[in-house]
Every structure is written in structure tokens, then in C-alpha cells.
Symmetry: C2
Subunit: 346 residues, 2 copies
């Protein structure tokens, strides 16, 4: 499990890729760690308004190099992209070298581990800066054995109809809503962006298959002091490639409730095999029946990601789906998630 230092003055590196879809990690940090970001580092966009690229961003400057950020006293550089199968883009290397020379910690979710790069490791050793590769799997080889269900904390897992539908956002919004309602709530991060937001977590998809559920069990035990823990889901139990990761979450976390996340209008997997998504009932049945082999759980509601739709379309779709499934349906970003929270904690 990764535990990041409490960085509070972040430089976000997006070099040439600033945007909601091109630099999703940066865009998420600009939403969920808005108060901690001091600047974006992107020579291609330097001097422009960050909000023209990421509408919800705080009004931070976009700078061309690390030296320009000195007056802002940053304490870390966070790599703001995490492309599938991605290595460190060559044009980002200069910024990382300069940040290390200036003594800034680096936090990266790339597949290519920066700490294993001889030149970067040497620069870090010289300045005392630290390199954190949050996709590195845990060294501990734990086989899950249902220890999660012995905690007194209520465990809620977000699950999906596909990848990239909003499982992390839903878990974060549920955590915030629970805190506003006075509950001691924790967010358990299971992917690189979630870890950068929470400062703690494990990349479950990078774990060896035998120890993936055990890594989740360990993570959930670390949040056992909370009243309720919202666990960031991954993949989908119906996705042929990523379903093992999803099941590691179901059986490692032993959730008491599930919130199913879907993007309105998505009918097919967005990545290979591009086949139709399973039907709602088949999918919910598979989630519940498979989870119940270890710990009984139910889908308590559906978080409907309605991005790109009008308010009217979103409302009509949510109402129709709620009627079809007999479950509360809400878009946590557009509508809040009071009903999903009530259902998950009932």
C-alpha cells in the first residue's frame, strides 16, 4: 500500500496534453485537490487560462518550466497523465529533472517506474527529493481471507457496467456527502488517480492475480476506524479483460453494499472487444451472486453519469431507469448523491 507525504503545494505536469480527456489525472486533481494545486506545468499552454481547458479548475497559472514556479514554493510535482501502457513522454523528462534538482518530490502513476530510472534516481538522491511510483504493486504477498468483513466499518464498493464510467468520482462524491452528513467516512483508492487524490491506496490492476484481493483486504483494514468506507471500483465483472480485477475488489473488500455506475448512452464496451454491454439484470445478478459466495451484498442504487446530456434528458433517463430497476438512480455530479448514500448505508 502506498502512503504519500502530505503534499500541499502541487505542480501538475501535463506538458502538451492539458485537457479533460487528454490529461485525466490532472483534470481529476484539479477537481478533488483544487486547494492544493499551485500551478500547471505545460509549456504549450503557458500563460493561457486553465479554465479554458478544464472548466472546473481553480484559477492557477500555467507555467512553462519549474524555475518559473519557484515563487509559488511547490513541494511536489505530480505527473498529470496515466496513459494505458504508457511510458514517460520524452518531453516531460526535462521538467522532472528540473523538479528533482530543485528538491521537489515526484508522484507518478505511469507504468514506467521513475524510481527505476538511473538518471532520475541519481538526481533524487543528490537533492533529497523522493520518487513515488503509485502503480508499483505492494511487496507484501497477501492472500485474501475475508478479514475485511470483520471490521466494524460499513463497506460500500462502486462497481460498473464498463471501465471509465465514473466509479472513482462516485466513490469520492459519496465520501464527501457522508462527511457532510456528519459521518466519519473514508475513500479507499484503488487506482493511480485515486491514490494521488487520497494520498493512500493500492493499484489493484497492477497486482499479481493471486495477491490482488489480498491487497484490497489490506487496504480496507487500514480504513477500519471509519464509520463507512467507500471503495473505488475498477473495470466491470462483465468485461472479459478486467473482470479479475473487479472480482478482487468484490472478494477482497467484502462490501456490505454496491453502487452500480453507468454512463448514459453507452451501449457497448468502449475498448476492445467493443461488444454490447450485458443487460442490467444479468449484470446485477452476477455481481450479487458472486459477491455472496464470500459476503452477502446488494446493489443499492445506480449512479448515472449523464455528462454531455441536457438536464431534461438526464432527469428522464434517471426516472426511467429507476422505474425499470426499482432502485434509486442519481447523477452524483449533477444531482448530488443523497439518495444513493441513504440506499448504500441503509
Amino acid at each position: 500500500m502506498h502512503n504519500l507525504p502530505p503534499h500541499r503545494r502541487l505542480l501538475l505536469l501535463t506538458e502538451g496534453q492539458l485537457g479533460v480527456f487528454t490529461a485525466k489525472t490532472a483534470a481529476s486533481l484539479l477537481r478533488y485537490r483544487a486547494a492544493d494545486v499551485v500551478a500547471v506545468l505545460d509549456s504549450a499552454a503557458a500563460g493561457t487560462d486553465v479554465r479554458s481547458a478544464v472548466p472546473w479548475a481553480p484559477p492557477v497559472p500555467i507555467l512553462a518550466d519549474v524555475a518559473s514556479a519557484a515563487p509559488l514554493r511547490p513541494d511536489a510535482l505530480y505527473v498529470g497523465i496515466a496513459p494505458v501502457g504508457g511510458a514517460l513522454p520524452p518531453e516531460m523528462r526535462r521538467h522532472i529533472r528540473e523538479a528533482l534538482a530543485a528538491g521537489l518530490d515526484i508522484v507518478s502513476g505511469l507504468h514506467e517506474f521513475l524510481a527505476d530510472d538511473a538518471e532520475l534516481a541519481e538526481l533524487a538522491a543528490r537533492s533529497g527529493a523522493r520518487l513515488f511510483d503509485v502503480r508499483r504493486p505492494p511487496a507484501a504477498r497477501v492472500v485474501a481471507s475475508t478479514r475485511a468483513r470483520e471490521t466494524r466499518c460499513r463497506r460500500v464498493l462502486t462497481v460498473g457496467t464498463d471501465c471509465n464510467v465514473g466509479k472513482m468520482v462516485t466513490a469520492l462524491e459519496l465520501t464527501a456527502a457522508a462527511r457532510r452528513a456528519g459521518r466519519a467516512a473514508e475513500f479507499a483508492a484503488t487506482g493511480q488517480t485515486g491514490i494521488m487524490i487520497a494520498g493512500r491506496g493500492v493499484c489493484v490492476d497492477a497486482c499479481v492475480a493471486d495477491f490482488a484481493a489480498g491487497a484490497i483486504e489490506t487496504l480496507v483494514l487500514a480504513t477500519a476506524d471509519a464509520d463507512v468506507c467507500f471503495i473505488e471500483g475498477q473495470g466491470s465483472i462483465g468485461h472479459p479483460g478486467f473482470s479479475p480485477v473487479t472480482l478482487a475488489l468484490l472478494h477482497g473488500a467484502c462490501p456490505d453494499a454496491l453502487v452500480l455506475v453507468h454512463q448514459l448512452g453507452r451501449t457497448h464496451y468502449r475498448a476492445p472487444p467493443f461488444t454490447p454491454l450485458p443487460g442490467w439484470r444479468e449484470l446485477i445478478r452476477a455481481y450479487e451472486h458472486t459477491a455472496a459466495l464470500v459476503h452477502p451484498t446488494r446493489v443499492g442504487g445506480v449512479a448515472l453519469n449523464t455528462v454531455g446530456h441536457s438536464d431534461d434528458e438526464a432527469r428522464a433517463a434517471a426516472a426511467a431507469l429507476a422505474a425499470e430497476l426499482g432502485l434509486p438512480v442519481q447523477d452524483p455530479v449533477r444531482d448530488g448523491c443523497d439518495r444513493l448514500l441513504a440506499a448504500a448505508c441503509a
Copy 2:
């Protein structure tokens, strides 16, 4: 995927651990590669009858060192143990050094990779011997995308109620029965012992979670020329620690039929969490419903491992279970598997 050379004169190393349960890999090779084994290497048992330790073994000698095996002209040394989390036992090192010096290939299923050991790698380089670590995960990072279901080969997967119930043996016995019936049948190995038997395969439990199903898909595509392929199962979909590996098999292989394997009398998981096994109907439902999200399949029969029971007990138990489930039930080792084969290929 691993492809081993066609070794035909094996030395089996069990140093101090020869026995059906203590050296399970060796015991399996003595059953399924009986014609290829020239001797067992075990100084503690040297000179004794191999059948007093492994009843089904061929009458090969037990030798004290590699030098004594020279007249038998071995072409490889196979490490006959694969303990959980196990390193190379120090007392085995001497034999491996001597074998490498003599130019013998080494095949190992240990977690500790012999090819990464500087001394052993140096000895191998000097003699031209090769080191094969069959637990090493594939370098290719393939995400499964249901390509397996596009093959014309019928795919049959063995699944279990727990680990260590007989999924490999069942797949091997089904393969042999299908070949006897005149079919072009292949065995797809997914664990270290299976790979040593088949000469080809992948250790799915050692793969990174995101690529475990993809490794199985690649393996199944490599057997696509057969009429029928029997895929060695791993773990159980109800086991909290190993279920992700099981689901990687279900969604990577896209099986047309499942054969469920159980050990008579086992009521609880034999390793942590030691909790009761799920009920038959709950387990079968979870297997079928989860598989069907990718490719429809049914449990066609139950392979009942009745080791340690009398013929009468075994027969009564099989009849009772067949009546309860409405499925054929057979012990492939005691009774053969004609009815399981018919059900799986119907």
C-alpha cells in the same frame, strides 16, 4: 506462454521430500510423464523402491547424485516440488549446480526464478544448459477481448469447489479419454505442474491482474487447431483470495462447458479462511451467470475426487450427488470419465 523443449529423459529432483503430498509435482510427473522419467534424485531415499513413496510410479531408480545418473543419459532435471511461496531449498542447490555443469536443462516451478540466480545463470552459460522458470509471467501484456470464442475448437474448463481438489487431473483424464475416443484433444496447462506435463502453458496465478485473462486467451488460441481443448482450472470462484484467477480463466477461455471438480468429504476451504464451502446451487449459479456475461456456458457434470474412500462409499456418494444435482458425477481416476466427456462435449 512457455514452450519447453521436448525433453524425453527426465531426472526428477525431490531431495528429502519424495512422497505423494510432499513432492506433488514429482508425483504428478511420475503419473503423467511416466514414460519420460529415467530416475528420481533424492539422497535421503536413494536405493529404496520409488513405489513405496509414490504407488503409481514406474520402476525407476532413486539416485543420490547427478553423477550416478550419467549412464541413463538424462536430458533435463525437473524440480519436483512447488511449495506455496517457496524458495529453492538449499539442499537442492548442489544437485542443480551439478546438473547444469553436466549440460542438463533445468525446469522449475518455484517462485524464486533460477535464471535470475547469478551463480546458476553463469553455470548454464558455461555448459550451454538452459534454465526454464515456468512460473515466470509472460512478457506480453495482452488484455483479453473474447478472441477465444472465435476458434472452432470446443473449449472445456475444469472449475472447482476449492483449490487442490483435482482440476488438473480431471482435465488430463478428459484429454486422454477424448483421444482414446478418436478426437484431436489438447490439454491447456495453466499451472506449473501442468506446464511440466504438457510442455507448454502459462501460470495464470503469477500474471498481473489486468493481463491474466489475456494470457489465457493467448494460450487457448494456441490450441485452436484441436477439436476439443480441456483447460486446467485454478482456485474457485468462491475462494476470497484466488477467485480473480478463476475468473481470468472463465473470461479468457470463453468455455463452452464446465466440469465442476470436488473432493468428497471436503466441507470447508482447506487453506485460510477455512470457512464452509458455498452450497452447490449457489456455486454453480455464480459460475454460470458470471461466465455468461462473456460467453454462455453450463456445468455439464461433476468430477468427484474420492481418494481415501472405499469403492462402496465413492459409488454411493456419486449416486446421491447425481440425483441431487441432476448431473453426471464420476471420479475420473477411479471410474474413468466417459460420462463427463459426453456431457462436456454434448
